[in-house]
């Protein structure tokens, strides 16, 4: 349902990558990277997206950026389907949704100066900065992210990992976007530097009234920055709610297992917390289990789970939407 406060509204989004074999390139199967996702991003909020590798979070990010065409479903930006746009209207849209990438080492061109990297968006969108104001704007952007504007002629290798991530952030902010997709923005950084970048992202959000989709596998980082959280498993959202609903009242067994598996930085809790150790690995998205995708690793699974796919909806066991037939807050997981 398009609603005025939703900046992004994702409806039944599906992305299958075809698997082709043999000379005739017949399609023999599909990697179901994103398999029916519904999401809403509200104005000014941070939506945390957590899940393990291969669950489809990065493909979802590329779909939200219109870098990938969906197999079916829609991404509405202020009510307008972004995948139906082309030409100048698509270019205009790209200014309003930007991305910050994980690896500050490979996402910056080593042959370009910092000034060229941060100024490049203005080359592409000539009307974004009045003639002759590019240099000033680049200097302002560097200052905003805590870099010295005098370093505008340096190259990426002359900066540390944390500073490089700031360059990536400055580039993402250049065109004054409304939505920023943060795809694992701090996971390549040293622990002592992560906190600097997290604080920066939080303060930029209020300064520029940004809405964030914050993708990460580190649960404590997501808890810190997010207003709402969506948990993804094998191409589907299995549970979504406010940060308190997810972290303190998780009702889907996968969320409970994920939270209990994350180690707490306190040795005195050792042996006191109950840890759910899941069996096995995440199944291949080329051949996900029937019914509930999580059932092969779930300790609550019953025959019904193999036959009937649970919808993401509010259920008797919990006040926020979960995709589990047996959603319930207990067993209480301490984390």
């Amino acid at each position: 349902m398009p609603s005025p406060e939703n900046v992004l509204d994702v409806q039944q989004l599906v992305k299958h990558f075809p698997v082709r074999r043999s000379l005739l390139r017949r399609q023999t199967g599909a990697i179901k990277a994103v398999d029916g996702v519904d999401l809403q991003l509200r104005q000014g909020e941070t939506l945390g997206l957590v899940g393990e590798s291969g669950c489809g979070k990065s493909t979802l990010a590329r779909l939200l950026m219109a870098l990938e065409r969906p197999t079916s479903g829609q991404v509405l930006f202020h009510g307008e389907d972004i995948h139906a746009l082309s030409g100048s209207r698509l270019r205009a849209l790209r200014r309003r949704i930007q991305i910050i990438l994980q690896d500050p080492y490979t996402s910056l061109n080593p042959r370009m100066t910092v000034g060229d990297i941060v100024g490049e968006p203005f080359e592409i969108h000539r009307d974004a900065a009045p003639r002759g104001s590019k240099r000033t704007r680049v200097g302002e952007l560097l200052e905003v992210v805590g870099l010295d504007p005098d370093h505008v002629n340096r190259y990426p290798h002359q900066f540390s990992g944390g500073q490089r991530q700031r360059i990536g952030i400055a580039r993402a902010l250049a065109l004054r976007p409304e939505v920023v997709i943060c795809d694992e923005p701090v996971s390549a950084l040293d622990v002592s530097v992560q906190a600097q970048v997290i604080n920066l992202l939080v303060s930029l959000q209020s300064e520029f009234s940004l809405s964030y989709v914050f993708i990460a596998h580190d649960l404590s980082v997501v808890r810190h920055v997010s207003d709402r959280v969506a948990v993804m498993y094998l191409g589907k959202i299995v549970e979504t709610g406010s940060h308190a609903e997810i972290y303190d009242h998780a009702a889907h067994p996968y969320t409970q297992a994920l939270l209990s598996a994350a180690p707490e930085p306190d040795p005195e809790l050792r042996g006191q917390r109950s840890t759910i150790v899941l069996e096995g690995d995440v199944p291949s998205p080329a051949d996900p289990p029937s019914g509930c995708h999580f059932r092969t690793r779930c300790w609550l699974a019953e025959p019904r789970c193999a036959d009937e796919e649970p919808e993401l909806t509010v259920r008797p066991g919990s006040e926020h939407p979960t995709a589990c037939h047996f959603a319930a807050e207990s067993p209480k997981v301490d984390h």
């Binding site: 990992g161 002592s192 530097v193 596998h217 994350a262 180690p263 899941l278």
Partner: protein
């Protein structure tokens, strides 16, 4: 009960006329049955020190410039390569972060595990195969006998790490050095591997050196923790003491900077700046440019690692003030 003592170990890299001191007078002791965590960020020297203990450093460019690595009193650095090799591999073994690149891609995993027993213990092909399957079962690889002939790429990341652990256990070592063994794994798989290592240590009373940058993982497994910064140990203490009252400003800064439930809605308290390059380590205390407590003395005089009144060690001129301020 075996004992591993690292005593003032120093390692330098000599590249293009430049000398980079990656490990600087590192000392620690470990008895079998204990777990020591070496905690540090990238470039702190934790992995290089482990490779030095295992004799796996490439020389040149790496040179062990001083110190001793004693196994039950025998200094491995004073032995011939051949003599030292009977300790390494057999009595001390190691697992790595990236199991895919540590395993040979063109040999089956079963062959690689069995090879350990054939080379070191002279077992026959049939016997070593049997033992390898037992080891694969012990690290919970499903259908071990059937998967004996499979190649590394046919296993998932978590299963490959189990294969590495099986290889490391093949000769029943007294000590296991685990270098970021779960960093490349997802959190639910990490929990499986941590649980497995815990069980194996209970069964075998093996001593373990676990290298990590993860304060959560360290809290979960460590008996003692040694915190490294710019090639040196800056603080060492029993795990619970270290988290309760750190005695070095770097440790205190790390603990304050990680997001916790109680800090939700507040800004995090980061350490300013970034870890130094080992090619340009700051004078005096290497941490002084980032330290909120530093004085002029810190930029001139290097603080030695010293024992505090409660038996812990810290390399800070103001260690007592740090622990008092936080207590």
């Amino acid at each position: 009960m075996s004992q591993l003592d690292i005593d003032r170990l120093s390692v330098e890299f000599r590249v293009r006329g430049q000398v980079i001191r990656a490990v600087d007078e590192l000392s620690y002791s470990l008895s079998s049955g204990q777990t020591l965590v070496l905690l540090g960020e990238s470039g702190s020297g934790k992995s290089v020190s482990a490779l030095a203990v295992m004799g796996l450093l490439e020389t040149p460019p790496a040179v062990i410039t001083g110190g001793e690595i004693r196994f039950d009193g025998t200094d491995l650095l004073a032995l011939s390569r051949k003599q030292a090799r009977s300790f390494r591999g057999r009595r001390i073994s190691m697992i790595f972060q990236d199991a895919l690149s540590a395993l040979n891609p063109v040999l089956s995993v079963g062959f690689q595990i069995a090879e350990m027993m054939r080379v070191h213990e002279g077992l026959s092909k049939a016997d070593s195969r049997q033992r390898a399957i037992e080891l694969m079962e012990r690290v919970r690889i499903p259908a071990a006998a059937k998967r004996f002939g499979d190649y590394p790429h046919e296993f998932s990341g978590g299963m490959r790490q189990r294969i590495m652990i099986a290889m490391a256990l093949a000769l029943s070592p007294d000590f296991l050095i685990a270098d970021e063994p779960t960093t490349a794994l997802d959190v639910t798989v990490q929990a499986q591997i941590v649980a497995l290592l815990g069980e194996l240590r209970q069964e075998t009373s093996m001593g373990m050196v676990l290298i990590t940058h993860d304060l959560g993982l360290a809290a979960d497994v460590a008996d003692r923790i040694a915190v490294m910064y710019a090639g040196r140990i800056v603080e060492a203490a029993p795990a619970a003491d270290l988290y309760r009252a750190p005695a070095h400003p770097y440790t205190a800064g790390l603990l304050a900077s990680i997001p916790r439930a109680s800090r939700k809605g507040h800004a995090l308290l980061p350490i300013k700046g970034s870890p130094p390059s080992l090619a340009a380590v700051p004078s005096g205390c290497a941490f002084h440019p980032r330290c909120p407590m530093s004085t002029e003395r810190c930029s001139i005089e290097r603080p030695e690692l010293r024992t505090l009144s409660d038996g812990r060690t810290s390399a800070c001129h103001y260690a007592e003030e740090v622990s008092n301020a936080l207590a």
